[in-house]
C-alpha cells in the first residue's frame, strides 16, 4: 500500500477530531472577564430622542438587562421576537444601539416592535468597547449593585431565557 493514498484518510480524521471537539463548544460563548465586576458606567443619548440621556447611574438599585444590538446585525433579528415577548413579561430590558445609524435602528424598532424600555445610542461604539462587546447581540444581566452577573453571547434563545436568565432575575430580585 502506498502511503500517499492514506493522506485523505489522515486529513479526514484530523478534521473529525476538530469537529468532535467543536460539538462540545458553544460557538457563541466567550468567557467575559467582566462577570462579577461592576458594569462600566456610561451616559449616552437616548435613541430617537438625543435631547435626553440614559445613564447607568439611574439604574442603581434595580436589576436590569442591557442588550446590545444593531440594525445591521442579522442575529439580532433572530432574537428580536423573543425580546418583544420578554417585554410583555415585564422584563427590564434596556437596549444599546451599537455602532448604528440612528434612523436605521429606529426603523428596526418600528418594523419589528420595540422591546426596550430605553435604548441608549452608542453610535461610535465606545460603550461597546468598555463592555467588551465581541459581536452583537450580547446581553448583560446587571444586579442592584451594578455588578454584571451574566452575559449572553449571541441571540437569547428560549432555552437560555428559561434556564439561565429568568432564574437569575428571580434570584437577584429576591
Amino acid at each position: 500500500m502506498k502511503l500517499k493514498f492514506l493522506i485523505p484518510l489522515v486529513l479526514f480524521f484530523i478534521l473529525v477530531g476538530f469537529l468532535g471537539k467543536g460539538l462540545f463548544l458553544d460557538p457563541r460563548e466567550v468567557p467575559s472577564p467582566l462577570i462579577g465586576k461592576p458594569a462600566p458606567a456610561f451616559e449616552a443619548p437616548v435613541l430617537g430622542d438625543p435631547s435626553k440621556t440614559f445613564s447607568t447611574a439611574d439604574m442603581k438599585g434595580k436589576v436590569w438587562l442591557l442588550n446590545t444590538w444593531a440594525s445591521w446585525c442579522v442575529a439580532c433579528r433572530e432574537e428580536h421576537p423573543l425580546l418583544v415577548e420578554m417585554l410583555a413579561h415585564d422584563i427590564p430590558l434596556y437596549g444599546l444601539a451599537y455602532k448604528d445609524v440612528e434612523q436605521d435602528a429606529l426603523d428596526v424598532l418600528d418594523k419589528m416592535g420595540n422591546p426596550y424600555i430605553i435604548t441608549a445610542n452608542d453610535a461610535d461604539g465606545r460603550i461597546g468597547i468598555d463592555y467588551g462587546v465581541y459581536g452583537v447581540p450580547e446581553t448583560y444581566v446587571i444586579d442592584k449593585a451594578g455588578i454584571i452577573r451574566y452575559k449572553q453571547i449571541g441571540p437569547i434563545t428560549p432555552e437560555s431565557l428559561r434556564d439561565k436568565i429568568l432564574p437569575l432575575l428571580k434570584e437577584l430580585d429576591a
Partner: protein
C-alpha cells in the same frame, strides 16, 4: 392514525434498507447471484416506503393535522396550500425525512435507469446506497422523529417562518437536495468500483451522466437560493459566504472538478484514482454540510435546531461512511492505478490544473468556514471569518483557473503545442483585452478588479467562439446546423456551460463594480430624480394577504418621460409570529435592476426608502441557468444512451 402509518413505514423502510445494504455485499466474495438478486427489489421497496412516509407527513401538512408536533410547529391553517406542502422541509425533522426521500428517488432512478450495469456491480451500488439510507433513517427515528404526536393538539400551528413563505421555498430546497444527495450515486459508483477492483473507461461512462445530473440540480438549486435571498432579504445581496451557503457550494466546486476529471477518465483512461477520490469527496462534503448545518457547531444566519446528540450521531455516521470510504480508497486505489500518461502541455494537464484549482478553492472555502471552529477548538480564542476573506482568496485562486479554462477546450489530448494554441487564441485574447477596456469606459469607471473580471469573462466567451470556429472550419461541408450536430451534445453542452460561467462573471463584475445604493425619504406625491430615473411616490395602499396584512408603496418610475415601471414594495405583518417583513419590488431588465425597498413611515410624514441600481445582476443567475442547460445537454449525449456500452472497452476520442 395516518401519521402512525407514516412512522411504521419508515421503520419498515429501515429493515428493508438493512437487507438492501447487507445481502448483496455478503454475496460479493462468492459472487452469489441469488444474493445479488435481492438488491433491486429491496431497493425499490425501501424507496417506496420512504416516499410513502414522506407523502403521509406532507398529507398531515395538507390536512392541518396539528396532532403532529412537527406540523404544529412549522405550519398554520391560514398558510397558503403551496407553502403548507413546502413547510415539510421548513424545519429540522422534515428536512431529514426529505433528505432520505430524495435519496430514495435517486435509488429508484438507479434501479430503473442503470439496468445495463452488470448485476454484480449494480447490486453493490444499490447496497452502498442502502447503507447510506440506513444511517439516515436511524438518525431520523432516534433523534428527529417528525411523526411525534402532541396531545392535546394545539388549536392552530405556530406558522412557517415568514421569511420562508415564498415560492423560492417551494423549489430551492428540492433542487438543492437533489444535487447534494445526487452525489451519493457517484459515491456509490466509486465504492462499488473499489470493492470490485474494476475501474475502467466504462465505469467513468456510467458515472458521468449521474454526476452531471446531480451537478445540474445543485447548480440550479444554489442559483435559485441566491436569487431568492436577493429579492427576499431586502438588502439586494446575492451571496453571503454564510456557513450554510458554503456547505452547498463546496460540493458544487468538487462536483465541478469531478465532472472534468470524469471526462478525462472516460476519454483517456487517465486520472483514475483521482476521479475516485473526487467522487468520494463530493458526497463527503454533502454529508459534512449536513453535519455543519444540523449540529450547530457553526453559527449561521440559517438558524436551525441545534442539539449535540444529533451532532454526535451525524459525526459518527461521517466517520463510518467517509472514514470507511477513504480506508477502502487507501487499500484499493493503488491497484486501480493512475491511468494513461500524458504530456506536460496537453488537455489532460490543463484539466488536471483545473482540478487542482477547484480543489484548492474548495479547501479555501472549507478553511474559512471551519476556521472559527479550529481556533476555538485549540483554545486560541473566538474569531469569525467574513466575506472579505472569501472574496479575496476565492477570486485569487479562481482567476488562473478561468484563464486556463479558455485554453482547455482547444488543447489537444495527450500532447498540445504552446505556439499552436497561442496562434489560435491570439485574436481571442486581443478582443478580450480591448472589450474589458471599452465596457468600463462606457460605464464611466475602471478599476483593476473590474478589468480583471471583464477580461476573464470576455476571454472565456471569445475562446468558446474560437473553439467552435476551429471545429466548424475543420468540417469541410454542410450547413451550420448540420455541422453543429456533428459536434455531439456533450461538446456543445460543455461550451454552453463555459459560456454560462462567462455570463455569470459579467454579472458579478458589473454588480460589484457599478452598483449604486440610495437612501432617501419621500413625501406623498413627491417626485425625485435618482440616477437619471424619476421616482414619483403615489402613497401607500393597505393590502390584505392570506395570512398577512401589508402596506404597499406605489412608486412610478419613469425615464425621459417614458414610463419604466410601477414598483410596489411592501411591509408585511404576519400576525401569527408577530413578524414584520419587507418585500422588495424590483424592475428587471437585461442590463439593470431597479430595486426598491420600503423603510419606515416618518413622524414628520413621508417614508424612508432604499433604492438600489444593480447593473447586469440578472446575468448572475442567467449564467447559472446556462451552466445548468449545458449540463443537461451533455447528459443527453447519445453515447450515454447506447445500451450496449457494456463490453465496449475501446476508447472513443
Amino acid at each position: 392514525m395516518m401519521p402512525d402509518i407514516g412512522h411504521y413505514a419508515l421503520i419498515l423502510a429501515l429493515v428493508v434498507a438493512v437487507l438492501q445494504g447487507v445481502l448483496p455485499l455478503a454475496g460479493l466474495p462468492k459472487n452469489n447471484e441469488k444474493l445479488f438478486a435481492f438488491a433491486t427489489p429491496m431497493a425499490r421497496v425501501q424507496s417506496l416506503l420512504v416516499i410513502l412516509s414522506f407523502i403521509i407527513l406532507d398529507y398531515a401538512f395538507y390536512a392541518n393535522d396539528f396532532t403532529v408536533y412537527y406540523v404544529a410547529t412549522t405550519s398554520n391553517s391560514n398558510l397558503p396550500l403551496m407553502f403548507r406542502l413546502a413547510a415539510i422541509w421548513g424545519g429540522h425533522e422534515g428536512s431529514m425525512l426529505f433528505w432520505v426521500s430524495i435519496l430514495a428517488v435517486w435509488t429508484l432512478a438507479v434501479t430503473f435507469f442503470a439496468k445495463e450495469l452488470p448485476l454484480r456491480f449494480r447490486s453493490s451500488l444499490l447496497a452502498v446506497m442502502g447503507l447510506i439510507s440506513v444511517g439516515f433513517i436511524l438518525f431520523i427515528l432516534f433523534t428527529s422523529n417528525p411523526f411525534e404526536r402532541i396531545f392535546p393538539a394545539p388549536f392552530d400551528g405556530r406558522d412557517l417562518n415568514p421569511l420562508l413563505q415564498d415560492p423560492g421555498m417551494v423549489f430551492h430546497p428540492p433542487l438543492l437536495y437533489m444535487g447534494y444527495v445526487g452525489f451519493s450515486v457517484a459515491f456509490a459508483f466509486a465504492i462499488a468500483a473499489l470493492l470490485d477492483g474494476r475501474l475502467d473507461v466504462t465505469w467513468a461512462r456510467w458515472t458521468r451522466p449521474w454526476t452531471t445530473a446531480a451537478w445540474v440540480f445543485l447548480t440550479l438549486g444554489i442559483a435559485l437560493g441566491s436569487r431568492w435571498a436577493y429579492y427576499e432579504l431586502g438588502w439586494g445581496g446575492w451571496w453571503f459566504w454564510d456557513a450554510v451557503e458554503n456547505a452547498s457550494f463546496m460540493p458544487w466546486l468538487i462536483g465541478t472538478a469531478l465532472i472534468h476529471s470524469l471526462a478525462v477518465t472516460e476519454k483517456r483512461n487517465a486520472f483514475k484514482a483521482w476521479t475516485v477520490l473526487l467522487s468520494i469527496c463530493a458526497f463527503s462534503l454533502s454529508l459534512l454540510g449536513t453535519f455543519l448545518v444540523r449540529s450547530g457547531v457553526l453559527t449561521s444566519v440559517h438558524a436551525f435546531a441545534t442539539d449535540p446528540s444529533r451532532g454526535l450521531f451525524i459525526l459518527l455516521f461521517l466517520v463510518i461512511v467517509i472514514g470507511g470510504a477513504l480506508t477502502l480508497f487507501a487499500l484499493r486505489a493503488p491497484s486501480v492505478g493512475l491511468g494513461e500518461k500524458f504530456d506536460l502541455v496537453s488537455r489532460e494537464s490543463l484539466l488536471l490544473t483545473n482540478n487542482v484549482v477547484l480543489f484548492t478553492a474548495t479547501g479555501a472555502v472549507l478553511l474559512g468556514t471551519l476556521y472559527p471552529l479550529l481556533i476555538d477548538a485549540m483554545n486560541m480564542g473566538k474569531i469569525s471569518v467574513g466575506p472579505p476573506y472569501f472574496d479575496t482568496v476565492f477570486v485569487a485562486i479562481m482567476v488562473p483557473g478561468i484563464f486556463l479554462m479558455g485554453i482547455g477546450p482547444i488543447a489537444n489530448w495527450k500532447k498540445a503545442s504552446v505556439p499552436d494554441m497561442a496562434s489560435k487564441l491570439k485574436w481571442a485574447l486581443g478582443i478580450s483585452v480591448i472589450s474589458a477596456l471599452i465596457v468600463p469606459s462606457i460605464m464611466g469607471r475602471l478599476s483593476p478588479m473590474i478589468f480583471v473580471g471583464l477580461l476573464m469573462a470576455f476571454w472565456v466567451m471569445s475562446s468558446v467562439f474560437t473553439s467552435m470556429k476551429l471545429r466548424l472550419d475543420a468540417i469541410p461541408s454542410g450547413t451550420l446546423t448540420q455541422k453543429l450536430k456533428t459536434f455531439g451534445r456533450a461538446y456543445n453542452g460543455m461550451l454552453l456551460a463555459h459560456f454560462g460561467l462567462a455570463i455569470f462573471i459579467v454579472g458579478v463584475t458589473m454588480v460589484k463594480g457599478y452598483e449604486r445604493e440610495h437612501d432617501i425619504t419621500m413625501q406623498n406625491g413627491e417626485t425625485k430624480v435618482i440616477n437619471g430615473y424619476n421616482f414619483k411616490f403615489e402613497g401607500i395602499l393597505p393590502i390584505r394577504g392570506p395570512n398577512y396584512i401589508a402596506k404597499q408603496g406605489q412608486f412610478y418610475v419613469s425615464k425621459e418621460g417614458k414610463q419604466v415601471a410601477l414598483l410596489t414594495p411592501e411591509k408585511r405583518l404576519y400576525p401569527v409570529q408577530g413578524a414584520v417583513m419587507t418585500e422588495a419590488s424590483i424592475s428587471i431588465n437585461p442590463v439593470r435592476d431597479i430595486y426598491i425597498s420600503l423603510g419606515e413611515e416618518l413622524e414628520e410624514g413621508g417614508w424612508s426608502i432604499r433604492v438600489y441600481f444593480k447593473p447586469f445582476v440578472q446575468w448572475i443567475w442567467l449564467g447559472c441557468v446556462l451552466m445548468g442547460l449545458g449540463g443537461i445537454l451533455t447528459m443527453t449525449d447519445k453515447r450515454y444512451r447506447i445500451k450496449k456500452v457494456l463490453n465496449e472497452q475501446s476508447i472513443t476520442a
